[in-house]
Symmetry: C2
């Protein structure tokens, strides 16, 4: 475990030394990694850092409002309202790899616009150690925005948390005084709810995924999973009154892990699973079934696409 | 609860009185209902009954061999090898209603051939009380072969177990001396594994559904569910070595019920669920995930399509 106070001091000094009086930019996802990287960079560079948050419409319930509130102290924060552009770009796309690609491309386009406006010479990224390992094996292509350095001609890339594991990043977040909602925040994938939807991303499926994720996070909080969420994985029959209907199948996932590289499905109490299924089918009448994922990683991944 | 001995005596007498010296036919599915109906009818009519078992290729592991063995005492048993014809008819069919329709049609065609050859005047059916109730609400259209009486011009339909609930049929099965594998057999839908496969029925998915169902039945036996099985519900990502792969998602269902009209998802021990997922992903390398269905009926149905 690193000495967090010493780490923060060194990281800030390193960013200052590397960027100097130049301008830098960072894509803020709301996750703990990019939040810590942004806070360290802001401490080093102040208003010479432009933090950019792109609202893709694939975010969790209340996420954008939360970001605006948490990072209100950064006057240079840019929030890009891109929900409609992402949904349009995703329309008709069903192949998982193509979905990721479309989202990555659209993200780069949105980010590029701000990067050019802000005249940034440096890119700050919240890459952590497991990201670097996994991206070598192509397991998480586009989970993080790996394409950014290629499209904008930056003078340098700064990755202040590149050698940390997730739990160390959380230590640093706490030491930096970031609120619990950030420091204890579960990992959330770059393409957002899109990888929690099998097949085409539509407004109806997004609404189901967003509400169901909210229920799951709420109900499993006390069990302190590494990551917990819901995914929309298909349709199956249900029954309403005397008639057969077709409704969405929602899969609930809650895993324990140290670093996300391997993970174990979490044993949840039966009454917790029952509360989850009853809240989800009660709130969302177009959901016919709730299932619980009992598979570890490997052979499954944590996310669904 | 009915007096089973008295019931059997009356049922046999009733069939004798109705059919007399004429010829009757029955579609034997391997389930407890049609097995009991066939045994009662065989007792009444002997070789004047033609029991027909159609192997649709959508059956459980080892089912056809089991049927041949159990009903070997009926010399008039006809086993129709129709696996290829069913798979051909189902090729490219993805809509759930159309799948049921195609299977129902093909079944009628196979049955009709034998019915005409055997010159049967009477049709014996294993309809039980809940079937009659549910078919009124169209919940289980084609789960049982409701179309049969319409296509062949029978003089009469005989339904010896029409007023019984499932547990009463099992009592009668035991009293008739049918083996445990029949009397305690879980309900199995008319369209077979096809309703445990979301989307098109292919040989690969059938193989997954058949093997996974076998594992589930084996592992949950001691928990005495009303019905337990596995369904192939879609694809999602998994990880093999350092690479991301796509594999099948298998949903495990185990429910408690008195009559199938309503049902409760069964609380299974975590180590049972873990053994199931590990056996399924171990035996079938093209399966990436195993999930457990925690939804009751309603709002879900027991089967998936």
């Amino acid at each position: 475990m690193v000495d967090t106070e010493a780490f923060i001091e060194e990281a800030v000094a390193e960013i200052e030394a590397e960027v100097g009086d130049a301008h830098a930019i960072i894509a803020l996802s709301g996750g703990v990694d990019s939040s810590v990287a942004a806070t360290l960079a802001y401490e080093a560079l102040g208003e010479n850092l432009t933090p950019v948050y792109v609202d893709t419409g694939l975010m969790r319930k209340g996420e954008t409002a939360q970001i605006r509130e948490t990072f209100a102290f950064m006057d240079s924060l840019e929030v890009v309202e891109a929900q409609e552009r992402f949904l349009d770009a995703l329309s008709g796309v069903t192949d998982p790899e193509e979905k990721r690609h479309v989202i990555g491309e659209q993200f780069i386009r949105e980010f590029e616009t701000i990067a050019k406006e802000s005249d940034a010479d440096y890119l700050v990224q919240g890459t952590i150690y497991p990201d670097r390992i996994e991206s070598e094996g192509n397991i998480k292509s586009h989970h993080n925005v790996g394409g950014l350095p290629d499209v904008v001609d930056f003078e340098g890339i700064v990755e202040p948390v590149r050698d940390l594991y997730k739990d160390e990043v959380r230590d640093v977040a706490r030491a930096l005084g970031l609120e619990e909602i950030i420091s204890e925040r579960m990992p959330f994938p770059g393409p957002g709810l899109a990888v929690r939807i099998i097949g085409e991303v539509t407004e109806e499926k997004l609404e189901v995924a967003r509400e169901a994720c909210h229920v799951v996070e709420d109900e499993v909080e006390d069990h302190e999973p590494w990551q917990a969420f819901a995914a929309v994985i298909g349709k199956a029959t249900g029954v309403k009154g005397d008639n057969r209907v077709h409704g969405w199948v929602v899969s609930v996932r809650s895993v324990e892990s140290r670093d996300g590289m391997t993970a174990r499905a979490q044993e949840l109490p039966w009454d917790t699973l029952q509360r989850i299924q009853s809240r989800i089918t009660g709130t969302l009448p177009n959901v016919a079934r709730v299932v619980y994922d009992v598979t570890h990683k490997p052979p499954a991944t944590i996310e669904y696409e």
